[in-house]
Assembly symmetry: D2
Homo-oligomer: 388 residues x 4
């Protein structure tokens, strides 16, 4: 069951690492560390294999993929020997990358994307395509009346205005081309009523937002710990220092704000109250693709005694994100195949700011994910899973 | 439903903090921060209220309880104003404390403990008593053939040998006197076949071991996080610096060894493999009742990229332990009242080294605990909870 | 040799802690931990004793000093027993505190301050007075032509404009009243040409700026360490989390900016280049008078190998600042007595942003300070110190 | 002025990194980051240039140097491109390495080392040789009467006993062959009366012990900071986690003990009292050549207020050590050339446990070093430096 993975931001760090990793897995040159779909609890027949994934994508930048992979190898993100060994496979993917459309109306650009997707499906005889947004984080969207309704939106897109931010434009194109959509960024993506309606109409699933890879991942287990123990979190302050392309983007206050907001949500929703303290993101070029996050949590125990926990996370964002991109592509494709449409809150496990936000506890998100994937496998095998 | 809480080590830091806290809660002078039985998910009619708890206990040391409470206030463990306000209540508890028995055979000492418990129940017209071991950690037990069998044990206890370590002697006495038993320490307690048989015979429940309050609490959410994300933990090293009475005891290598072993178990069992690295416990007198633990975790992500997480926990052990002691007393009493006997793996949430060790993931332990307590409440209300 | 210490911001945390501490030292109730003038290297006959210090000051706030001291005791900044024991002495100081003048022209307010100082000197038969600014940090000063010249300034002050920021107004009054001036804050103080001229004319010494108590103190030894070892600091990022009155003031971006700038100076000047990274100050009310600073330093060693150092400082700002305020008062008084006037770069040891900034290395500043104080003692004893 | 650098432990991590680095510097392929002799304060005519250094050494292990360099490159200690570019130069050094002598009496082995040194000097027409011990740390030496006196020692060495530990055997051989000696390890080296006498007799300088590269380097600036500020350090606890060859050696308790002792000395001697707490060294294989040290310092400020500082050092030991080995070789050779003999306390800057231990403050050690090197340059230039 050949499945397309169309990456918006295809030459970025996350995309390149995802592609190198999938090719390495296919070639038996690397193991699936970091891929949750390879855990015994999630593995099974419903998911397309790594070998069945075919990559393509859009990017405005034209640096060759092999060049980007070499840069990542020099930075210690991917092993240099893999990049060398996969030269031919990378060249093959290169031929499936397309420039991000520019000029014309937004409707014109959507048409280009739809044509690129359709042609990609035909060329590789794909059963289906998952469009995954891993492009640079956008500023928060400017509200527009046409966001409320598909008809109004279609009309507005044909006009001169930039009605949709790029992420939503890609979501629109994905749905139009019959593809599911995953947003790994905090950008708007499919989160507009008009796009939700479009996905429902076409029977397509979508998931997001903002891959949960670092400080927020740790928060999603520590905050429930304090809650389960009835300890009162008084303050939770954090700082994220990062370089890399994503860091450079986030040096822009508008993009930064979107990101910080999605990072803070987990606390208030898990604890039931908002502790004092802020999360900050600072760009430090020299840190490159490795991010250091430091968090200080002060809390009160029995009879008000003050205590504290601090942690330092030193992670490689792209190496954390890439296997999740592959997981999301596999699960979303299988979910699409199973006939499910609309938002997928069952995939909250992967996101900082999950659509539907059923819970922010990683353990509870894990239970939801297991149940969802188990059902996909059961359906694929024709067996039944009793409803819970 | 007046319920006795008999503390072995009644003048220690944990015991004193538990007593001060329960009296403060009863008097409305403090809230239940840190008490999980007061969370909406666990609150309910099956549990004795704080006002229904009556305290007594054994300790070889004779320092007045009020004096111990003042020392803890000076050290910042409990608020000084509470100790002052509760002077009369503390004096009342003082009259229910008994010296730890000395001399004679172990059977003689057991008889004293049984008599103390029986008299305590009579004096306060208690529905039942929970014996909670919060005394100093012992060295690992020396095996003895009589541990295998109640009859052989009864005979050996009447002889001159020290067949049982103190914790097991108290467990024996508790069961003989018809009391349930909770071990908050890493000591042997009821974990001997002969004692398990005795508990079964008398229809009494018991729980343990080693209250989970600091570094191991954090481990029990972080280790599952790495497991759920299929990240490969390469090393996990930790150091615990602590003063206080417990620290002084742990400066003894034998007691230290028992503690360290119960701390390491969570990793191997959660991850499915044992990462490199050790946990250390060092006594630093000046740190007093506050403990600082530092852990370094190195792990590999996708394609082998190395990353790291480090955390520093700065907690007040007694303030973390005391509310759990109250929780355990309430839940164990209710479980006893519900007619349940034998080991209680449902209480794993509270322990570093839980009996039966169903799982080391805090979130899964929490689910087990909720289910258990929900059923107790349902039974108490005469309603039914559907089996899962 | 009775010496007045006139505190601008006399009811603030630093001032109150300084007063409580000096009274406790005088009464033999506390030792001189944190006072560098009591180190063997600096102790000697030129310095007024603690018993010879007499306190007074201005503050717009009217909360009684004893009340402020109790608040600090409750927050763990000073021991409660000292505040209780010193009630009478605190009441005596209370009678020497004056409201900060309001209304009228700046010349009017200066006249009030001068009168208060003169009266204070007369009332207590003081040999001299050191005015120490420990009031809230101001925003950066707005340039004004009258700052350039004493005559122009005198004229402008009589007009309706707010020509001088409060700190400079106090410095003006101090010099006019024949007092030396120390600025423990990052505010402007005496750093205007007109004020420098005034000090020179009156033969008065002054020192500042911004007491070096936390993160910057650590920086002032770590940055020279990297320099001495020829290690290349690539980035140095820091975050300061603090509550308290000072924290609340710094939540204001303008005050924050002044402070951050004085914190960053040490790096560029010590290393000879400016590493990447910023210092941030965030207000977290719940942290109260204790500040947590976290710094991450990334550096390159031989052949470019990347390494890192991170530190967390958890300090009580007022407890760090107060003994330095006493040290500064003693040394500045002795320097004044020795006939020295103008700025005192020899006191760089105490400041984040030292006037004259001879060096930012703590060890070199220490050598300068020792030499200065040794000479004061030698002069006081009539012996000679050979020039170096 | 060609100068030999004879490395004992020539195939170890420190030695290999030193050689690769010196060759890279000579070839203009790398800059002198980490080399203090290239700082403006120390640079000058007395020191042999990097191009004038010629390397040789002993090691019992026979792994080719190029192989060791590749292993270090794979571990991220040295850049792989340097190792590739320097293949020929490494092969040249390879031809000057000799197996560590085995068998026979200690006198026989000394004779082999002396012959190897003499032949090395002749072969390369060296002005002089510095023998630098960078071999594995030994256990503490067993006292022997012959250690007291050169004559007794000479006699004992000819007998069957292992009178000297290996480091001292090399020091003996070095002095016998007219070479100066530097010990970068905590081993005994020249620290025996008989060896001191031998060095004096031959007019040879020597220096040591134990290169100061990580936790102790930081201690040597932080401890003076606390002392200069009259802050009372209550406890200082540390843990060092390291892999690599050195880590494997230190997993042996005897070697560990020697190292820990040399690490603790700095505190007691700088502060004037010994704070509570210990330093630990743990072997964690997976950390490889990178070491993580964590230290917790608790201290009291004014009026006893408790505060804390913690730091995490994450350094590459060999990359920190290697430039210092080159610095020591250059300075010791120049000191030898200047006619100085005996122990060199002026080189304390480089060592955890400096011979003569004039001070443990890095800043004061820096002043001593500057003065020493400035005089060497002045003498080399025929100018005079006024005595201080
Ligand atoms: N790496 C992580 O751990 C992580 C976690 C959560 C979210 N994310 C998000 O993933 C995204 C990618 O991160 P990255 O580190 O790869 O960043 P990156 O800067 O390396 O890559 C972004 C790519 O998007 C491209 N791009 C920009 N605008 C585009 C457009 N309109 N259409 C198509 N492509 C466009 C850029 O040219 C670039 O190649 C970011 O939004 C980031 O916030 C990453
Ligand atoms: N505080 C925590 O967070 C925590 C967590 C897990 C386990 N624990 C365990 O709880 C226990 C108590 O800790 P603590 O800090 O109160 O220690 P502590 O030293 O303050 O108190 C122990 C008390 O036990 C008494 N005791 C010693 N031998 C006894 C005996 N044979 N019979 C009766 N009493 C005896 C001592 O006299 C002392 O009063 C320790 O075993 C500790 O390991 C504590
Ligand atoms: N504590 C430290 O470690 C430290 C270090 C460096 C600098 N400082 C500086 O010391 C100053 C005092 O700090 P704090 O923690 O005591 O702050 P605080 O807020 O507790 O006290 C400041 C006091 O100044 C008074 N004040 C405000 N405006 C005034 C005016 N015009 N005239 C006279 N008094 C005035 C306020 O009423 C208040 O009582 C701040 O500027 C701070 O930045 C403190
Ligand atoms: N790297 C640092 O930061 C640092 C700092 C201070 C001290 N040191 C000391 O430097 C020494 C070297 O460290 P390393 O990391 O290179 O260790 P390593 O284990 O990589 O190298 C030691 C070498 O010594 C050789 N050796 C063992 N016995 C010998 C003998 N009798 N004669 C000659 N060679 C012998 C070994 O075969 C090995 O090649 C250690 O003693 C270490 O404690 C290192
Ligand atoms: Na830390
Ligand atoms: Na840290």
């Amino acid at each position: 069951m050949r499945t397309g993975v169309w990456l918006v931001g295809a030459r970025g760090s996350v995309a390149t690492t995802s592609i190198v990793g999938a090719l390495a897995l296919r070639a038996g040159l690397a193991g699936p560390t970091g891929c949750v779909t390879e855990l015994p609890e999630l593995r099974g027949p419903a998911l397309p294999s790594f070998a069945e994934l075919v990559f393509g994508g859009h990017d405005p930048v034209l640096t060759p993929l092999a060049k980007r992979a070499e840069t990542l190898a020099a930075a210690g993100v991917v092993p240099g020997r893999l990049v060398a060994a996969l030269a031919d496979d990378l060249a093959a993917v290169e031929s499936d990358l397309r420039p991000a459309p520019v000029g014309g109306t937004q409707a014109d650009r959507i048409a280009v994307v739809v044509a690129d997707l359709t042609e990609f499906r035909r060329r590789h005889e794909l059963a289906r395509i998952v469009v995954v947004n891993v492009s640079a984080t956008e500023a928060a969207v400017t509200p527009h009346p046409a966001h409320a309704d598909p008809a109004a939106l279609a009309e507005a897109l044909a006009g001169p205005d930039e009605v949709l931010p790029p992420s939503s434009l890609y979501a629109y194109a994905a749905f139009t081309a019959g593809c599911s959509y995953v947003d790994f960024t905090p950008s708007t993506g499919a989160r507009l009523p008009a796009l939700a309606a479009l996905a429902a109409e076409r029977g397509l699933p979508y998931a997001g937002h903002d891959g949960k890879t670092g400080e927020t991942l740790v928060k999603s287990v520590l905050a429930p710990m304090f809650a389960m123990r009835n300890l009162a979190v008084r303050s939770w302050s954090g700082i994220n220092l990062l370089g890399g392309g994503d860091g450079a983007t986030l040096a822009d206050p508008a993009a930064n704000a979107a990101k910080v907001e999605s990072k803070q949500r987990v606390l208030g929703e898990t604890l039931g109250y908002q502790p004092q303290g802020d999360t900050r993101i600072d760009y430090v070029e020299e840190l490159g693709d490795f991010k250091t996050a430091w968090d200080l949590i002060t809390f009160a125990g029995f009879l008000g005694t003050g205590m504290r926990l601090e942690f330092t996370w030193h992670g490689c964002d792209s190496a954390l994100a890439a296997p999740l991109v592959l997981d999301l592509a596999r699960i979303t494709a299988a979910t699409h195949a199973a006939g499910r449409s609309g938002p997928l809150p069952e995939l909250a496990f992967f996101f900082k700011d999950p659509i539907g936000a059923p819970t922010h506890s990683l353990a509870e998100q894990w239970a939801l994910l297991r149940q969802h994937v188990t059902r996909l496998h059961a359906a694929a095998e024709g067996t039944d899973v009793p409803a819970e």
